[in-house]
């Protein structure tokens, strides 16, 4: 009785609850409830202390981290430096940025119960950015015994030091996940800013409810059955905007980048001319109109590393942005020797934010003179099939589409899809480009922001020339909540449930 409970419908259902096991954003959101991070990024892209503060040695080779007081695991044990070292190592195995960091790292050792040192082999510009990275795999801290769970297995318990405790008994995958306020949590004193600052919990309980049908969830939000809905369907916004009990706002101001990726192993997209023709045929505006259809929430953006970030540039993106490349596309395709083999595009029917891209792209490609075979499947099949290196006729593919959280692709190291490692550890589609790999490496080592910016622009130029992938625009997803909620925090990894209060 009298318990304040927030009922929220998240963007998808929570099934995997080990944040070191999957990059799924819902699991990351779960991570922020239960776990805490050493460092965090604030709204100025600055890294701030969260669980720990740090010092950098003058030679830039030793980083010393000191845990703040009052940190306790949910099982009552104090948080130790040993725990954090183990957690960082686990993350370093899983995350791309983590792996990069580990490549530069000579050792991570506890100094005493409260502090530990990270020693580099040579200076590396992204140490703090990596450890304070807001999105998945986010380096969450957990007790050593959990962090040492063998690779390929999920952790057995949900014991973190975060502001909420996970109620295991009420967890029903596909139905709901329940969190209770962690009474022992000592927040920082600073005001909250993105994932940094004080995580003050003002409610007793948070329930995440799964609703597979967006229409149902919108109905529930309108009727007050739920307090918060993370992803509002764009087309229902007019209905919700008319409702004075509901507030609509975008929490993740960078939103998402949607992109198309080709398979470099097989014709016709093994031919750069054909890829260019496809690139030139694309119009971001068409894709966004079909996907979002609301000028307020969509942004044509030629920057591979996302607009409104330090690395933004529009080099090489003119046709994407202006949509004026069709004539040239036709010409190029005619010259390329394309033999009319149909392009197999995988189209998942069960993911709302991925339905429009294949359809629009198919139409544009057809216009340019391609033959297109849109194959409808479910997302699971796409996920599996895109990993297949077989020819399109034997269960392989030519093109698929996906979305990134913009923050996750906002620099060349984090952005896996821009890589050029080919079949040797490259991202699905297996683009091979030595030059890009060289530039990415250079970027990682460079310490100055200006230089980084220059390298990023070069990468983008090269990526567009080779058509490593095609960004198809950025979009924001509005969230909605009942006005009884106050203090909803924005950021690159939202929603978070600290700082929110609920009036009766």
């Amino acid at each position: 009785a009298g318990k304040k409970t927030i009922t929220a419908v998240m963007h998808s259902d929570l099934r995997v609850i080990d944040p070191g096991f999957t990059t799924a954003y819902i699991t990351r959101d779960h991570g922020y409830m239960v776990y805490d991070t050493l460092l965090a990024t604030d709204s100025n892209f600055k890294i701030q202390p969260q669980m720990a503060d740090w010092k950098v040695s003058d030679d830039k080779l030793t980083y010393t981290f000191t845990l703040r007081d009052g940190l306790k695991w949910h099982d009552g044990q104090p948080v130790t430096a040993e725990d954090c070292v183990a957690s960082l190592k686990r993350w370093g195995r899983n995350d791309t940025m983590g792996q990069k960091l580990m490549d530069f790292t000579a050792s991570i050792e506890p100094i005493d119960a409260k502090s530990f040192a990270l020693k580099l082999k040579e200076p590396y510009g992204l140490v703090l950015e990596s450890i304070g990275k807001p999105s998945s795999y986010t380096p969450f801290m957990m007790p050593k015994r959990l962090a040492e769970t063998p690779a390929g297995q999920q952790i057995k318990e949900q014991v973190g030091s975060g502001p909420f405790k996970f109620v295991q008994a009420e967890f029903q995958p596909g139905v709901k996940a329940v969190y209770e306020k962690n009474p022992d949590y000592v927040p920082r004193k600073e005001p909250p800013s993105w994932t940094a600052g004080g995580k003050v919990v003002k409610v007793d309980r948070v329930e995440w409810i799964t609703m597979p049908d967006a229409q149902t969830a919108v109905n529930a939000l309108q009727s007050g059955d739920i307090d918060f809905m993370e992803n509002l369907p764009f087309d229902l916004l007019p209905v919700l905007e008319a409702n004075k009990d509901i507030k609509i706002d975008v929490l993740n101001k960078f939103g998402f980048q949607t992109l198309g990726r080709m398979n470099f192993l097989y014709p016709p997209f093994d031919n750069v001319k054909v890829r260019r023709a496809a690139f030139l045929a694309m119009k971001q505006k068409d894709v966004l109109d079909a996907l979002v259809g609301n000028a307020k929430y969509q942004k044509v953006c030629g920057a591979i590393f996302v607009c409104d970030t330090p690395l933004e540039t529009d080099v090489g993106a003119e046709t994407l942005v202006k949509g004026n490349g069709m004539a040239e596309a036709k010409k190029l395709l005619a010259e390329s020797g394309y033999d009319g083999t149909p392009i197999v595009i995988m189209a998942p029917g069960d993911v709302v934010t991925l339905k429009a891209q294949p359809i629009v792209a198919a139409q544009l490609l057809r216009e340019a003179g391609f033959k297109v075979d849109v194959q409808a499947t479910d997302w699971q099949t796409v996920v599996t099939r895109r990993a297949s290196q077989k020819p399109p006729k034997e269960g392989g593919w030519n093109m698929f589409f996906t979305n990134w959280v913009a923050a996750d692709v906002s620099n060349p190291v984090a952005n896996a899809s821009v890589g050029g490692r080919g079949k040797n550890g490259g991202w699905f589609g297996w683009a091979e480009d030595a030059k890009i790999e060289e530039l990415r490496d250079k970027f990682a080592r460079s310490a100055s922001a200006d230089e980084q910016k220059k390298i990023a622009a070069e990468i983008q130029k090269q990526a567009y020339e080779q058509v490593i992938y095609i960004p198809l625009g950025q979009y924001l997803i509005p969230s909605g909540w009942r006005k009884s909620l106050t203090g909803v925090v924005d950021g690159p990894a939202t929603p978070v449930f600290w700082n929110i209060d609920k009036s009766e």
Binding site: A214, G349, K355, A356
Partner: protein, 296 residues
């Protein structure tokens, strides 16, 4: 000896092989159903002539427009002309219905005839059919669709498989009772071969119930396709079907109900007509019904 006079007024000749189509206009309601179905089929066939726009042509900037002179029923979420999509959608939906009915009936007929006649086949076949029936059809359909992609063919197969046992059982039960009929025994005693007995003396008995079953299968296939689209495992969203127009349209239920209303209306009319015609055909073909009408 004189030829007896017929004690009862003779009944007009009706056989399944030369069915009089008179039942199609037996009552005003059935006549209306026949006309509706005819119009819908004609619409589907003549889709390229009737549709004002290319049903696949996207115009994302024109999305969800209300009715206008250019787009009579407005546009869908991709800016495609709803009217054209509905007209073309009838093609695939009707094809799925027809295909599922034909497949399930022809396969079920063979299985049913054979197991109705051979005890040992029966024992094995019916266990398999039982097994198939026990699997929820919608899940089977999802599995089949993800197995080989959601093309017209696979969706049709997926919908057909669960229907086969029902048809087979129906045929089998008809055969089991018909093979006891004296005219079948008479055929045996004049040395008629088994296949010929099945084809000529047993199969015709299954026609009337199969027509009813066929209309039922056709109707439920069209609906199942809609449900598959609803669950995201339907035919490619490029290709319009009534089912996926509705399934896509449900997200805009409150904004633009016509996305569901129009295809739903046509679907209902089509299914309603098919059902009514099926019932009428059964009444016209079932000798039992006729006897009842004749009073004895």
């Amino acid at each position: 000896m004189a030829i007896e006079t017929l004690p009862e007024p003779s009944i007009p000749v009706t056989t399944p092989f030369r069915p009089r189509l008179g039942f199609l206009t037996a009552t005003p309601i059935i006549a209306v159903a026949t006309i509706c179905l005819g119009l819908i089929i004609a619409m589907a066939i003549a889709a390229p002539l009737l549709a004002p726009h290319d049903p696949q042509l996207l115009a994302p900037a024109q999305r969800l427009k209300p009715s206008s002179v250019q787009f009579l029923l407005g546009t869908d979420a991709y800016g495609r002309d709803l009217l054209s999509r509905i007209i073309y959608g009838g093609r695939i939906s009707l094809l799925i219905g027809l295909g599922a009915a034909i497949f399930s009936i022809s396969i079920g007929l063979v299985i049913g005839l054979v197991s109705g006649f051979f005890k040992w086949v029966d024992a094995v076949m019916m266990r398999v059919m039982d097994g198939l029936m026990a699997i929820p059809s919608i899940l089977l359909a999802i599995a089949v669709v993800s197995l080989s992609g959601a093309s017209l063919m696979t969706v049709m197969v997926a919908i057909t498989i669960p229907e086969i046992p029902r048809v087979a059982r129906l045929v089998r039960s008809v055969v089991l009772s018909a093979r006891e009929e004296p005219y079948v025994e008479a055929a045996i005693s004049v040395g008629t071969s088994l296949p010929k007995i099945m084809w000529r003396h047993l199969m015709p008995n299954t026609v009337a119930p199969l027509i009813v079953q066929g209309t039922y299968v056709a109707a439920s296939a069209i609906l199942t396709e809609a449900i598959l689209s609803f669950l995201g495992a339907g035919i490619s969203p490029e290709t319009p079907t009534w089912g996926n127009i509705m399934a896509e349209g449900r997200a805009y239920f409150q904004v633009k109900p016509s996305l569901i209303f129009w295809p739903g209306l046509l679907l209902s009319i089509a299914i309603l007509s098919v059902n009514l015609i099926g019932d009428a055909a059964r009444d016209a073909l079932d000798p039992r019904m006729k006897q009842r009408e004749a009073g004895k």
